[in-house]
């Protein structure tokens, strides 16, 4: 079927096509509902010398939030949390590896400052229960 694009042959709406539009809306609503049910977001964890000092739920951060962290040997870091993820904004250590790691946005990613013995990492919420099990068991 080859037809021409003109006013007589092409209509703006067709009655048979309405179900398609309704399906799109339903699918969108369904996915949205699933997403809002799922454990939302990621936890950002800061550890200094092996001790967890900060835990932030990134889904609950409004805008960008920066936080000073005091590491070992007088090394001071600034960590920034946002909805998109977490990163080390600045560090007084000489090599800046953690700073260059950039934005962490997925569970399992981490930025490590070896001289300050600071670890910034992201974990999924389900990881936390696994961790708790491991500690008790």
């Amino acid at each position: 079927m080859v037809k021409r694009l003109n006013t007589k042959e092409v209509r703006l709406f067709s009655r048979q096509e309405w179900p398609f539009f309704v399906i799109i809306v339903l699918v969108a609503a369904g996915i949205f509902a699933l997403q809002s049910q799922a454990p939302k977001g990621i936890m950002a964890v800061v550890e200094v010398e092996g001790q967890t000092t900060v835990r932030r739920d990134l889904a609950q951060v409004e805008g960008a939030e920066s936080l000073p962290i005091a590491g070992a040997d007088g090394i001071a870091l600034t960590v920034e949390f946002s909805r998109e993820g977490a990163r080390v904004l600045s560090s007084t250590c000489p090599d800046k590896t953690c700073q260059r790691t950039g934005l962490l946005s997925r569970a399992g990613e981490s930025a490590v400052c070896l001289p300050g013995r600071v670890v910034l990492r992201l974990e999924g919420k389900e990881d936390r229960s696994l961790e708790a099990d491991a500690v008790t068991g």
Binding site: M1, K3, R4, N6, T7, V10, F13, V25, S105, R106
Partner: protein, 171 residues
Amino acid sequence: MGKSGRIALSGMLAALALALSFLEGLLPPLPGMPPGAKMGLSNIAVMYAAGSIGLPCALGLALVKGIFALLTRGFTAGLMSLSGGLVSTLCMWLLLKKSPASLSLTGVCGALTHNFAQLVVAYWITVTSVTLYVPFLLIFSLLTGILTGSVLKLTLPLLEKLNIANAVQKR
């Protein structure tokens, strides 16, 4: 109208598509939408080309749009525009030429395929989670697709008065 006429018309449509994408760029970003979500106004020109001139011309327009994005907004934007543009052009051409689909359905499917091709590329380039945007993109595609279909429906009678497409078709 011979080959030269068709080339001239394609050029005009390409200019129109670029002008529309530029105009779109001036609109403020929409709240709640993924960064770079656009109304797809330039798809009107592509849709018209796919329906009345032919697939090669329409794909050419998508290519020009992609190159324009590449030159003005960088590699990522160019790749996103090109991937979305080519896939949606193919989809709209199929619907317009090979099926009895209405203009709004064609617009919506064009927007959907455009967005999802881009989503795939975005997922491939960055590794951040893009699935969060899917429901918004679905609704957004629905609205903008109906909008582009309606605009084309409104402009078609005027274009027919100019008799350009007929001249190209009769050739």
